[in-house]
């Protein structure tokens, strides 16, 4: 049974008449001249490379410690420089507004007073952290590292699918994908002027330095991981070593008189900035989950006293929650006085009875998500789901409609991708990584995720998606 939607998808390499788009011309010529079997051979080589380097992730629910590779696709996704510059402006604008929103709701709440967003939406949100009320952060930045997920539906139409302001991951794949491509196809990089991404770790380090408490001249920075069984552990270790800072676990840190120290072979050493990849809930057992063994007792107290910086800050989840997402265009207008450059996906709120009625009547066409879900877990993709799956999901919705939002099934653009049958179009999205310190920085491109099964629209690695190298080329 083929329930693949029959819309016309935007193919990023080929125009509707089959002609190769300008930006892919040179690559297509190279591809056409490639001897048979070369791509297959290089694909195998790439996989060996990734496995040997141990670039793996763990999948929750599988045997403890099981490691898998995220499939790497060796056909690059290409953007033109002008196209990218437009995207970049929109992404920066969005992140600026999101940080302004976070500062505002944890201080004077002007946006609530102005009636743009309700007090209920903010203050009753499970991810709102009352502990953060009135806490001043350097540069008023809360989300130092943001991942903004974008999908393309037409030549000039991009939508923001979601904002990731807590602990977005995937940047190590962006960097390793580029390294692998350069190793496999040096000739492509000689013939194309690809914008570099390799300086990301330096930009991250600069951003973390700027996040330090303002009285610290030469801050000690660490990356904090939940441990080697976390699905993104490879990335935590990778970023720490690329920046030349310590990779710590909660058990390596302790708080003494509102200052954070790490246990070293020479005794305790004070830490000033923690790039933490541990969720809010687990950070401090004295304040949040008491059963957490991943955190540091007293960390929140030290943080609120201004003796240590956390990146990202505590309480950013209230701004990337899927029900708050709806208000981001309003935030841009409210804080920046600008028109949003990137659009939101039209979204139905199932807490509203009109929306709920419509959605329940159209489930087979829609995508339904949990408001606080992430990673592609627990969502319904109507067009590719069976009747039974749709009915089961309907029951879930009815028990707590306010926990869900629905969106039309987007016609995600496709990119040529190496699959068993050869090179074929597959759906992709894009996650650029946005760094906010004294200024907002990002490297050109980001992580392209690709749904490897034919017709699939779910690109998450936890759901069998792969990744591609993303090129921004001079036009």
């Amino acid at each position: 049974m083929n329930t693949t939607p029959t819309q016309n998808y935007f193919n990023e390499m080929h125009a509707d008449n089959g002609a190769v788009r300008d930006i892919y011309q040179r690559y297509a010529r190279w591809l056409a001249e490639l001897p048979d079997g070369t791509l297959e051979r290089k694909s195998v080589e790439a996989e060996l490379l990734f496995r040997r380097l141990g670039i793996t992730f763990a999948v929750y629910g599988e045997e403890a410690g099981a490691e898998r590779l995220i499939p790497f696709d060796i056909v690059p996704r290409i953007f033109g420089a002008a196209e990218w510059q437009r995207l970049e402006l929109g992404i920066k604008q969005r992140v600026r507004a999101l940080n302004a929103f976070l500062h505002d709701i944890y201080h004077d709440r002007e946006i609530i007073k102005a009636g743009v967003i309700s007090a209920h939406q903010v203050l009753d949100n499970a991810l709102y952290r009352p502990e953060m009320q009135g806490v001043d952060l350097p540069n008023q930045v809360y989300a130092h590292i943001a991942g903004i997920d974008l999908v393309r539906v037409a030549e000039n139409d991009f939508y923001v699918l979601e904002d990731n302001l807590r602990t977005p991951s995937g940047v190590s794949y962006m960097l390793e994908n580029r390294k692998t491509m350069m190793r496999l196809f040096p000739e492509l990089f000689a013939s194309h002027t690809v914008e570099p991404v390799e300086h990301y770790p330096q930009m991250l380090l600069d951003t973390l330095r700027e996040a330090a408490p303002s009285h610290i001249a030469d801050p000690v920075i660490v990356v904090m991981t939940p441990g080697s069984y976390n699905s993104a552990y490879f990335e935590h270790a990778f970023l720490a070593s690329q920046m030349g800072v310590e990779l710590v676990e909660g058990q390596d840190l302790f708080v003494h008189q509102q200052r954070v120290y790490m246990h070293t072979t020479e005794g305790p050493q004070q830490v000033h900035v923690i790039y933490r990849r541990v969720d809010d809930d687990f950070l401090d057992p004295l304040v949040f989950r008491a059963d957490s063994t991943l955190g540091v007792p007293g960390l929140l107290d030290a943080y609120c006293s201004g003796n240590v910086a956390l990146a990202n800050g505590i309480g950013t989840g209230v701004a990337d929650d899927k029900s708050t997402y709806l208000y981001v265009p309003d935030m841009i207008r409210f804080y920046l006085g600008e028109a949003p450059l990137l659009s939101n996906v039209p979204t139905w709120r199932l807490s509203e009875s009109e929306d709920l009625k419509y959605v329940l009547a159209h489930l087979p066409e829609l995508v339904v998500k949990e408001v606080q879900g992430s990673g592609g877990y627990g969502m319904l993709v109507g067009p590719t789901s069976s009747k039974a799956e749709i009915e089961a999901y309907r029951q879930r919705i009815l028990t707590m409609p306010a926990n869900f939002i629905a969106q039309p099934t987007l016609a995600l653009s496709t990119c040529p991708t190496m699959v068993d049958a050869g090179v074929a179009p597959r759906h992709v999205d894009l996650r650029p990584f946005v760094l906010s310190g004294k200024e907002i920085r990002l490297v050109p491109g980001g992580l392209t995720r690709v749904a490897l099964s034919e017709g699939s629209l779910v690109v998450n690695s936890s759901q069998g998606g792969g990744t591609k190298d993303t090129w921004v080329l001079e036009d």
Binding site: L247, D252, Y261, M262, H263, P268
Partner: protein, 331 residues
Amino acid sequence: MLSRTADNLFWMARHIERAENTARVLDVAHRTSLLPLDIEGTEAYLWYAPLNITGCAAGYEVKYGLARADAVTRYMALDPDNPASIYTCLRLARENARAVRGAITSEMWEVINATWLELNRLSRHMDYEKFPDYFDWVKDRSHLFRGVTLGTIQKDIALSFIKLGTFLERADNTARILDVKYHILLPSVHDVGGAADYYQWGSLLRSVSAFEAYRKIYRDVISPLRVAELLILRDDMPRSLHACMNEVEAALIDINGSSGREARRRAGEQHAALHFGRIEDVFKQGLHEYLTGFLAHTDLLGREIRDAYLARRDRFGAMPLRSAEQVQKVS
């Protein structure tokens, strides 16, 4: 350096070294089993040695009973349930390495990771005749790891903790091999110079890569006294107790720090005893008694090192911090 990082580096190195030593012990047992040995219950007698050296005789007996060549080899080479098997050592080495990927070079990580991946491609039911190749492979991977380490890592205290783990483990192992082997070989000590004896002692020397050196240094029949001298007191033998303690003491001096005073004192004391010791005195005391004493000292030294550097000290009892404050109050 983070205490946990130091701990992982130390144990990464120890487990690699332990895997190599276990391969050496099993290899020599294999070679010995090919020789005629005129005592009762030869097989069990011979194959208890590797179990005793690695301290896993009890676990083995529960599972298999009497020591048999095939079962002991499998149990110690590939059994994931044996906490002292080569398989487990290589797994733990990788786990420790994985926890400190940022503190080791990517080349070191790749050697350890590739070793682990290759190990898992090997069949658990390897043909018995294939084991000598397997032991060679384990030794090769260990040599490769050490070479890659020295060739790529920065000479800072990370390397010192790696050396500390390597040489403490090696000292421990050489002492055990000598002790256990000495007992097995005792029945033929009166027969010094006999052909069987020559092979017995020869295989012991080969297990610690010291056969050629023995020939070169002594140019004479193999005698227990000289074997013991070579493996205990000669500081130019890379696996002798003296050479190992040279490295341990040097590593501790490089690491230094305010908290390791007792560890440095112990290492220095043990090193001095080897430096100025005479083999005649060792034998006067009794080789077994001497080696037992050495192992006890090494164990204490290991504990000192753990307490001084590797353990996360109690959250509120972090001594250096408190004393720093007291100094500030006075001034």
